[in-house]
């Protein structure tokens, strides 16, 4: 067992709330954020999404941005979540603060809006040309908070946020940074909605993770960030929880589909347990990737079987609350894992009725109170990228 890296701040913005308290309230009340899209302009109104019902204009105004700002929507959402995390951790950003953000969509919302204009040679909105770089979105957030030193972006599809947390924890452990803000942000775009739709893995109803009749995911948007600090920086400040394990592996099976036995997921969880220095029996709750696609949930349950055999702990997917927020998912679910540790509660897996025939696994379907010391959180993405994180209650 190792002590793990201290988390001293967290911030979140999702379809179920614009800060941690609001997200927690929705989680314990079982209040989901899935709806028909109103902000995203698409013809696919039949596809439910986890949309944040606040316009870019209003977000920019709240952040006091000038009218000609070049923040992508992911940067706007990200700035809110970072603000909350930094405020909670109560310190001033200095030249030993790093920033690592996961994003897959980046500024695609701007690219898809202005693509035709740019093709026609129109230069009115040319400040958004570089938005196609994921690093552009990260840099906008860094700029807003005056972070000038180590700034980087991870783009490993739906495991980006989890990988950002993993890199941050490793850098703190290695003494490369004193503190680092880690997490992820992604917004809804026509590009991703149509992409997932063309793959026929979007559900036209509310998603049903781990249910036999699950028929696809709901896309979502959001941002979440944690502040990680080195031990010698803490000076008695409250620690929200610790990152004690992490593991990253590749499924090496198919660009978008997971292998039948969930090899990548299995390896990622195995490595996470190893870095945490604990056996699988110590895990009290699993916040699963659980996207509600046929393929993911079946591969993930196979991998869980292989890790936990007959001792499967309580598990649930919170994606039915928020939708699948892609690169941000691992970060959102890190916040939920920490809330689970703080409040000693397992959040429910909504919309579940029939167990999958292949596994018979039954997730937690009603808010459950119990002693929780270790939470495992899974994030798997396109390109076979699989990452698992283990969070530990502080002080135990």
């Amino acid at each position: 067992m190792n002590k793990g890296v201290a988390v001293t701040g967290m911030g979140i913005f999702s379809a179920i709330g614009n800060n941690t308290a609001a997200n927690y309230r929705s989680l314990i009340l079982g209040k989901h954020g899935i709806s028909s899209s109103e902000i995203l302009e698409t013809i696919h109104k039949n596809l439910p999404v986890g949309e944040i019902k606040i316009s870019n204009e209003s977000l920019a105004e709240d952040l006091n941005l000038p009218e000609n700002h070049s923040f992508s929507r992911a940067a706007l959402l990200g700035a809110f979540a970072v603000k909350e995390a930094v405020t909670q951790s109560s310190w001033k950003i200095d030249n030993e603060t790093g920033f690592i953000s996961g994003t897959s969509v980046g500024g695609m919302d701007a690219t898809e809006t202005y693509f035709k204009d740019f093709t026609e040679g129109k230069t009115d909105n040319n400040r958004f040309i570089r938005a196609q770089h994921p690093g552009f979105t990260t840099e906008k957030i860094a700029e807003y908070f005056g972070i000038t030193e180590f700034v980087s972006t991870i783009s490993t599809a739906c495991s980006s946020g989890a990988n950002a947390i993993m890199l941050g924890a490793r850098m703190i452990k290695a003494g490369k940074l004193k503190r680092v803000i880690v997490g992820g942000t992604d917004c809804l775009t026509k590009f991703t909605l149509n992409g997932f739709n063309s793959l026929m893995i979007l559900s036209d109803e509310q998603c049903k993770p781990f249910d036999e009749s699950r028929n696809g995911l709901n896309l979502g948007e959001g941002a979440a960030y944690l502040v990680l600090e080195g031990e010698e920086e803490l000076n008695g400040k409250p620690v929200l929880g610790r990152i004690s394990g992490y593991g990253n592996a590749n499924d090496a099976f198919h660009q978008t589909a997971s292998s039948e036995n969930g090899e990548g997921a299995f390896l990622a969880m195995q490595k996470a347990l190893k870095t945490a220095g604990i056996s699988s029996k110590k895990i009290d709750y699993i916040n699963a990737h659980g996207t509600a696609t046929r393929n993911n949930d079946s591969a993930e349950t196979e991998a869980l079987k292989r890790i936990f055999s007959k001792n499967l702990p309580d598990f649930s997917s919170t994606k039915a609350f928020t939708g699948h927020t892609l690169a941000a998912a691992g970060a959102l679910e890190a916040v939920y894992s920490l809330l689970s540790l703080q409040n000693q509660q397992v959040f429910s897996n909504l919309n579940f009725s029939d167990p999958m025939q292949s596994s018979g696994f039954i997730p937690v379907t009603n808010l459950k109170e119990k002693p929780i010391k270790y939470v495992l959180s899974n994030s798997f993405g396109f390109g076979g990228n699989c990452t698992s994180l283990i969070f530990r209650k502080n002080g135990e």
Partner: protein
């Protein structure tokens, strides 16, 4: 940092032939966007798979395989990729179809391959490599973040033998040409070899893939040792000399210990002062080299500088087409690579002969 890291294999696909070192011949281009010289991809990738691949994936897998083969590694312990804009061709294709067809009747192929981690994922798939796999996408420090991660991996795990690290970026018809609209590219076509004589805004661009097989063990054909890597998002122009001195100090070196400096000058007179400042002050008496007049500037172009540094340290030769000054470096020992883009995302890479 603790453990030593050696470059034991290099694979590149770039706009220049590899005989730059033997014959000193450089390819000339007269457009501000120019493609790579394609190798025979069929030698590395099965024809069936090749058909579906965009250029970034082809270049990535090919250069990765060349690097691994040279280092005699079958499956590396980690694959870490840097890319500024990822699979731009597939992104552009799906985006255009979506806009033209008003979100109707779309096929998923190009979407599937549009994610930034497709290159790293496809290399893993091709090699059957289930190990650590991450993709960094931070503009001009994408490849450098990958190197930093590799450096940490070697420090964390003494049982690690090899890591494949590389940078890839491709040009696409439309998205790349948008850079003409915001001043990133020069407004009139120039000859690439004249880039550094230019006194105008913008630069020229191309594409490429640079993969490096890293190991903590030396081999007979080792190129160089990677001493250290550092990235920094923002540096005030007047602080650049101090920053580099501080970096050298952490590596217990003086500026005088650096015999060769490879600068990322890209002919953009709005930002080249970062380099000029160093040329005139800290590294006045150092052999100064540049390379973007050969391969253009793009997010992972600094991979070409690492390739050059590796070959210079191994062969002791410096092709004259790279030289910015007349200072001779008899037996190059320590090479420092400095790069930035549009005044942001600064990086330093220190390599040494071993």
């Amino acid at each position: 940092m603790g453990n030593k890291i050696y470059i034991n294999g290099i694979g590149i696909v770039s706009a220049q032939e590899e005989d730059l070192f033997s014959e000193g011949f450089a390819s000339t281009y007269y457009e501000n966007i120019f493609p790579v010289i394609s190798p025979n991809y069929r030698d590395f990738i099965k024809p069936m798979a090749l058909r579906r691949m965009s250029k970034a994936i082809k270049m990535g897998i090919t250069s990765a395989k060349i690097a691994l083969k040279e280092a005699e590694i079958e499956v590396p312990d980690a694959i870490i990729t840097g890319t500024g804009e990822g699979c731009k061709q597939d992104t552009e294709k799906f985006l255009e179809n979506m806009l033209d067809q008003n979100e109707k009747l779309l096929t998923p192929t190009s979407f599937i391959q549009s994610t930034h981690n497709t290159i790293g994922g496809q290399i893993a798939l091709n090699l059957g490599c289930k190990n650590y796999n991450v993709t960094y996408t931070q503009n001009s420090v994408s490849l450098e973040t990958a190197l930093l991660d590799a450096q940490m991996q070697f420090d964390e795990d003494p049982f690690l033998n090899s890591i494949l690290v590389g940078g890839v970026d491709e040009i696409s018809e439309k998205i790349t040409s948008f850079r003409k609209l915001d001043g990133q590219l020069k407004s009139v076509p120039i000859k690439n070899l004249d880039l550094l004589k230019e006194d105008s805004t913008g630069t020229i661009t191309s594409e490429g893939a640079y993969f490096f097989a890293l190991s903590n063990k030396r081999k007979e054909n080792t190129y160089a040792e990677i001493q250290n890597v550092s990235i920094k998002n923002t540096i005030p122009p007047e602080k650049i000399n101090e920053e580099i001195e501080a970096f050298l100090e952490t590596n217990k070196l003086d500026p005088a210990d650096i015999d060769t400096m490879i600068l990322g000058m890209n002919g953009d007179n709005r930002y080249d002062y970062f380099y000029k400042n160093l040329q005139q002050k800290l590294f006045k008496n150092t052999t100064q080299l540049a390379y973007k007049h050969l391969v253009g500037d793009f997010d992972t172009a600094s991979g070409y500088a690492i390739y050059l540094a590796g070959n210079i340290l191994k062969s002791g030769k410096i092709p004259s087409i790279l030289k910015l000054n007349d200072i001779e470096s008899k037996a190059p020992k320590n090479i420092l690579i400095y790069n930035q883009y549009l005044g942001r995302d600064h990086s330093l890479i220190l390599l040494s002969a071993f």
